[in-house]
């Protein structure tokens, strides 16, 4: 049995039937707050993210994906094939003891197996059933398939990203799928708040398209007000070892610009009318970037960041993954945590997404496929060893 740290969700049991990125990220956050999370994976191959790059070891190893490892900390793994009637039964049994169920199947699929919200809530009315899908449970696109880039496209996030003379560009990595998972987490917490107060559970419907349409913060409103957002040139300038944005276009006080000119050794620009106001610096951004670029090219990016922030500008520097792990601020707050993985050794994970008084964020290594079959199926549901052997770790049913 996995130790519970108590925690805000120390009394909460989560059944994670989801696969891929968004649903598992939601359940990871619930585990972070102390919930017990049982993850159900298909026998043999496991969650689809186990097949995804980047791999920490060999690509043909279900225990090798960094994506899976990140998404499934502090969970237990049970292997069951839902479409096998014998194996759907234990899932139904587990669902009876579940507070929050997270799933990401095509709408209607779990229903067809007797694992839909209506069926499960009949005997477990407190159940919170979180469905995370590309387009939601209703509407003309409900059966359409999704992906990170599809959500970014259809939610109008992507159209304005990238350079004016190029194609629309996606936000990198899996970041949008994580955002959808965060929405599911917040919605699950909301439903739990309602249950704590009122006693009933409910069906939570998270649509990736809608998450993106919400996350696209300018386009729908600006467009309606007669200003069509478009892809814009970048305001990054090259530093000696990477990229910075000098941050002089907004949020800067009157006296700052002359100080920056002084610092850059170009006092003659201090009263250049092109640059003396924020509006001017925004309008003449490309000229400004050239002036700053000549100076920045000789300095390390982090030095520029700290120096200009000290002048109360809103400066940024482009951190790489490597930079993040040594960034003073993140190190000082001990944001990153090292977990000992039995296979890959020491693996560094991002830690708590927020801190609440002295509450600890539960962060334990991800389970190997089927690690908890015995404990859950036998220990909790009373199945015999022969029955469990059928769904054993390697899934040779």
């Amino acid at each position: 049995m996995m130790a519970s740290n108590g925690g805000v969700l120390g009394d909460i049991k989560v059944l994670d039937l989801s696969q891929g990125v968004s649903g598992p990220f939601c359940a990871k956050f619930l585990a972070g707050l102390g919930a017990e999370v049982i993850k159900v994976e298909p026998t043999g191959i496991g969650d689809s993210s186990r097949q995804s790059e980047p791999f920490l070891g060999g690509p043909n190893d279900v225990e090798s994906s960094a994506l899976f490892a990140y998404l499934n900390t502090s969970k237990m793994s049970v292997t069951l094939d839902l479409d096998n009637p014998d194996q759907a039964l234990p899932v139904r049994q587990l669902a009876q003891e579940t507070d929050i169920l997270v799933e990401s199947y095509a709408p209607g699929y779990l229903e067809s197996l007797g694992l839909g919200y209506d069926a499960l809530s009949e005997t477990n009315p407190g159940l919170i059933y979180v469905s995370v899908t590309p387009f939601g449970q209703t509407g003309p696109y409900r059966d359409y398939k999704g992906a990170d880039i599809v959500a970014q496209a259809i939610g109008a996030l992507m159209y304005t990203i990238g350079l004016p003379d190029r194609e629309p560009l996606k936000v990198g990595g899996e970041s949008v799928l994580y955002t959808i998972g965060i929405s599911a987490f917040s919605a699950a917490m909301l439903a739990l708040h309602v249950r704590d107060a009122e006693g009933f559970g409910q069906h939570v419907d998270v649509s990736a398209m809608e998450v993106m349409t919400v996350a696209q913060i300018h386009s729908s409103i600006n467009d309606q007000f007669g200003h069509t957002p478009v892809r814009r040139p970048t305001n990054l300038v090259r530093a000696k070892d990477g990229w910075v944005s000098p941050g002089l276009e907004s949020g800067v006080q009157q006296g700052t610009w002359p100080k920056v000119c002084e610092l850059m050794g170009v006092p003659e620009f201090a009263d250049d009318p092109r640059f003396t106001t924020q509006e001017g610096r925004r309008t003449n951004q490309q000229d400004l970037l050239k002036v700053i670029g000549d100076w920045a090219a000789t300095k390390p990016k982090e030095e520029i960041y700290h120096t200009l922030q000290a002048l109360r500008t809103i400066t940024g520097y482009v951190a790489t993954v490597e930079d993040l792990l040594v960034a003073k601020q993140l190190v000082d707050r001990q944001f990153f945590q090292t977990l000992a993985d039995p296979v890959h050794g020491e693996v560094i994970h991002p830690g708590a997404p927020f801190r609440m008084a002295d509450e600890e964020w539960q962060l334990l290594p991800p389970p190997r496929l089927g690690d908890h079959n015995q404990e859950i199926l036998s220990g909790r549901l009373g199945y015999s060893s022969e029955e469990i052997a059928k769904v054993s770790k390697n899934g040779e049913a």
Binding site: A156, L169, Q216, S245, V318
Partner: protein, 426 residues
């Protein structure tokens, strides 16, 4: 999914909202949708920058309805109108002693305080967590900041775009082989706004368990860096640092956007499984592709994706982006039109799901408002309440909540501590 019960989920929850710009206002906008009473507190000399200037010049970059600034421009900017819905508007000068007193009086009758100033602003005002928790030990103080409440950079300023940089997101966003790019959409702000909602629900549950409020310390940089978590793990073990790869994917191919008919129109396509691949071959009416040895498996397709991109583009170029999406989806291929904001407000799927609210804003006219990133079967969303004019609810709050008389409120207006007209230099 019909909503069958009508009680608002957060009815009775009172939120004092000092937040500005995007992340905080987004969080409190969501709270308002679920029924919380949100009191947005600004000062007449420092309004939420979403409102723009009291007297903007002709070249002001902010977006006003049809470019018209109107009589009260600070009640009409697109960002204010869009993000500050579902809130009451109150003004108070927190630099004045009387302002501080009234602020603490409000703290005593609120459940939640939300702010996203630079790290130490509230402490310098004498209104940091120690002061407010003393006034109200049950108060939940949600402190959203660029870098977190502690650490050497706690006082650094940021915007959504600089967070994308310092959190690493820009380092993995960009065209293949090209420089890092930001999203132009201050992407970390809505993400943090959405997460803040869940964080607050967690703190409320903790209050239910312990009877106590607490400080919720949320660093936007930390949250944003979680969006590239798998790359952090990967680097820590293999030393590989993720970089830009355009619209390509680590595993899947084809994966990208493809040009359609019309100006700057595109469709996004992502093929992962064998079924999706075979569906693509059917949809673009090239069944022989499925037999092409170059594209036999995921690895082959990944290695030969430029050739595939050319084939797909020659098909999409003949169709509009919605048509291409529907044809591909009919064969089980994940595809989505690259919509513009103006297209999302007319999209039939969002329409059918009731995603948009049609809002008649008395200062800015009628428009469609985006709503929530979730739908709950039994906890309905409150219909959008239009953004409030500056100080519109001063009387309602100071009289109704704090019991001040009309004369007392008039005196506060006289002293400039509250009011519904911005300071002319604001």
């Amino acid at each position: 999914m019909a909503t069958t019960q009508n009680r608002l989920a957060l009815e009775g929850l009172r939120v004092l909202d000092l937040s500005q710009v995007a992340a905080g206002p987004y969080a409190t906008m969501f709270l308002g949708f679920m029924g919380a009473e949100v009191i947005k507190l600004e000062s007449r000399s420092r309004m939420d920058i979403n409102r723009g200037r009291a007297k903007p010049g002709p070249g002001d970059p902010r977006v006003y309805p049809n470019g018209e600034q109107g009589e009260r421009p600070y009640n009409r900017t697109a960002h204010h109108v869009h993000r500050n819905i579902n809130k009451l508007s109150v003004t108070l000068d927190l630099a004045a002693d009387r302002g501080k007193e009234l602020f603490l009086d409000l703290v005593r009758v609120c459940d939640v305080l939300v702010e996203n100033y630079r790290g130490s602003v509230m402490d310098r005002l004498g209104l940091g967590y120690d002061a407010v928790s003393q006034a109200n030990p049950q108060l939940i103080y949600l402190k959203i900041s660029s870098q977190g409440a502690t650490g050497p950079e706690a006082n650094y300023g940021s915007l959504g775009s600089t967070l994308e940089q310092t959190a690493g997101l820009a380092s993995i966003t960009g065209y293949e082989g090209g420089p890092p790019l930001m999203t132009n959409e201050v992407y970390p702000d809505p993400v943090v706004g959405i997460l803040s909602f869940g964080a607050l629900m967690a703190a409320l549950r903790r209050r239910r368990q312990t009877g106590l409020g607490c400080l919720v310390d949320l660093s936007q940089r930390e949250v944003t860096s979680m969006l590239l978590g798998e790359s952090v793990l990967d680097f820590s073990v293999t030393g590989r640092a993720a970089g830009t790869m355009g619209n390509k994917h680590r595993d899947m191919a084809p994966h990208g956007v493809y040009r359609c008919t019309g100006d700057d129109m595109w469709v996004a396509v992502s093929v992962g499984s064998e079924d999706e691949w075979l569906g693509l071959c059917r949809a673009i009416e090239q069944p022989d592709l499925a037999l092409d040895p170059r594209f036999q498996d995921r690895k082959g397709r990944h290695g030969n994706q430029e050739a595939l991109d050319e084939i797909i583009s020659s098909w999409t170029r003949e169709r509009d982006h919605y048509q291409a999406m529907h044809l591909l989806q009919a064969d089980g291929v994940p595809a989505g039109a690259v919509l513009k904001g103006s297209e999302t407000i007319n999209d039939p799927h969002l329409e059918a799901r009731g995603f948009w609210d049609v809002v008649d804003n008395p200062e800015a006219g009628t428009y469609k408002q985006s709503t929530l990133p979730w739908m709950l079967s039994k906890s309905p969303r409150k219909t959008t309440v239009p953004s409030a004019g500056l100080g519109e609810h001063n009387f309602q709050v100071f009289n109704g909540l704090l019991g001040l008389s009309s004369d007392e409120i008039d005196a506060l207006v006289e002293e400039g501590i509250t009011g519904d007209v911005p300071n002319p230099d604001a």
